[in-house]
Point group: C2
């Protein structure tokens, strides 16, 4: 094994200084301002750096407060939610579709709790490791916008915050699509429509629930039971078991799951209980993951444009970093994808 | 909107110098070596940096060739494969489970082609933006190990390379599990066992195919047809359509899919063709994604430990960066998960 495999020592500013026959201070000056060193010295330093493979560009940008070419994504999620996730890979793919063309990189940190999350934002920005942030998974009473404002960090918030936001936001508006779904259920004769909500602390979970509840009430129906499914397949299955354990007069004939993965968990429990989809229970999900159209029966769902959220968020953030005024609010629109699981309307 | 939202200008080394009443060179010297400046001046510079919120730590480490606290992950995949991927989020979650405890961050770049890939490795390491790399998705005749050796970059290769490797490798060995699966198929009376292979350029796809082929031959059977499914649900569905389009005497009664997602695509096509699983066609996948046990029928599969690959790879790389000699080869073992889709053996 050569030294390279375990980390051959990379050349330092001292090595460059030694090779160029100058002091480290001279290298720093050449690097930081270009002043205070003669052009001959600057050229010797440049030559030495090239020969040694010493590249000061990132460090130089960092020292001078110039853009670094990196954006940060701090994700506070449990590994269980990340495993086989519907949102994250697509969102990241959207970000990267913009960044790769601009030679930018994404710096990702997964954090277990709010305290580590705050420290990580401060450190990534304070240590000038990233230029700005994309903020996702807004929680109820999320403290990040205020914290990022205090840090002076450029950021784009993905998702609709409660109240107004000082940061540009990019939102997936699914209100109309959810309203359309509930109307289809009602037209097919359903009177008890249940909802399986994702993580109760996540704002997007709360918003989907509110849209469902409002749509049901607007049709003069009582909202059916609500269960929580934590956005996972297992969570969706367990929520469905709790729904089926209810008395007959509380049992819904249609269920709107807050994510496709939870609906797939529901499929399994409904199937084991001998219930036909959509004959006995009509089902719909949210996301439109690739699996949705391959499920049996194909799953009706509200399409959310994860990749577009990533690419639009990255684009707006890059524009901000270039000094352009961002649009304060960008809205994408969810879309109702009708498939067999929700049955035919009357 | 305050300046912070669009990127309040962060303090630079010049601002620190001005506030401390010293030259930029003095700040650089204090930062780079601590020599050539009096302790009083150093304290003034430190004080000015604190007041301005100027944090030199990352840049200082970078300039001095010290560990940066970041590892790089360069992923050459099309967005289609990333969308709803079985490997990537779990693998990342494993990496992060190690890095977050060590205050390290992951720098991720998605790249579209081999040329951008090579340039990205060079730039991330040459610009001292990362300390080392985790290398995944080994391709047939992969040029990255040689390139990383040339760069002198520390790296851990995830997956078994062809031939010997100068870099530490961490491998998921699924040979025995695939052999056990094929044996179960044979015991249940299957004589034509097909395989749906993932991306033909990926080494892991080729290795799964070889294990299947060898296991079939060892039982004195002829390997059934092979189709390619690109590791996606759609790809698995299309490969299954091609299998069903074959003449009766070439039609398999069992199919081993190189990934669970491809098997789920197969479920949909087999179901539409009126074929019962496992009655008419026995099915098995690879990965053991959370969905596998919730499919209908539950999917027999070879479990691959994605998260453990990530955590072990990150652990070995961090140990290397601390100067410890890594184990040259670490082996995890795949596991056969028998469920209803493969039928009962005789």
């Amino acid at each position: 094994m050569t030294a390279g495999k375990t980390g051959r020592k990379r050349p330092t500013i001292s090595d460059v200084a030694q090779r160029a026959g100058v002091t480290k201070g001279a290298v720093s000056r050449a690097l930081n301002s270009g002043t205070g060193v003669s052009s001959g010295t600057r050229e010797r330093i440049r030559q030495a750096a090239v020969e040694l493979g010493w590249s000061p560009s990132y460090a130089a940008r960092a020292l001078n407060g110039k853009p670094l070419g990196t954006i940060g994504l701090v994700v506070r999620r449990s590994p269980e939610i990340l495993d086989f996730d519907a949102f994250f890979p697509s969102f990241l793919s959207g970000i990267e579709s913009v960044l790769s063309g601009e030679e930018h990189a994404t710096v990702i940190r997964f954090v277990p709790d709010a305290q580590t999350e705050a420290a990580t934002y401060e450190r990534l920005f304070g240590d000038r490791f990233v230029d700005g942030f994309l903020v996702t998974d807004l929680a109820v009473d999320d403290e990040r916008p205020e914290m990022l404002d205090r840090l002076g960090a450029p950021a784009v918030v993905v998702g609709a915050p409660e109240g107004s936001s000082d940061f540009p936001t990019i939102t997936n508006d699914s209100e109309e699509a959810i309203r359309g779904l509930v109307r289809r259920f009602a037209e097919a004769g359903h009177r008890r429509i249940a909802h399986v909500q994702g993580d109760p602390c996540m704002l997007h979970a709360l918003q989907r629930r509110r849209h469902w509840e409002q749509a049901v009430r607007d049709l003069d129906l009582e909202p059916g039971p609500v269960e929580y499914g934590s956005y996972t397949i297992v969570g969706g299955a367990e929520a469905t078991e709790r729904i089926l354990a209810r008395n007959d007069d509380e049992r819904p004939t249609a269920v709107f799951y807050g994510s496709d993965l939870m609906a797939i968990g529901g499929y399994s429990v409904l199937g084991e209980a001998g219930l036909d989809i959509p004959g006995d229970v009509a089902v719909a999900g949210f996301d439109d993951i690739p699996l949705a159209s391959f499920a049996s029966p194909p799953l009706t769902t509200v399409r959310s444009r994860h990749r577009a959220l990533g690419s639009a968020g990255a684009r707006i953030l890059l524009d901000m970093l270039k000094g352009q005024a961002p649009p304060l609010s960008t809205m994408l629109t969810g879309e109702l994808c009708l498939r067999e699981s929700s049955g035919q309307p009357l």
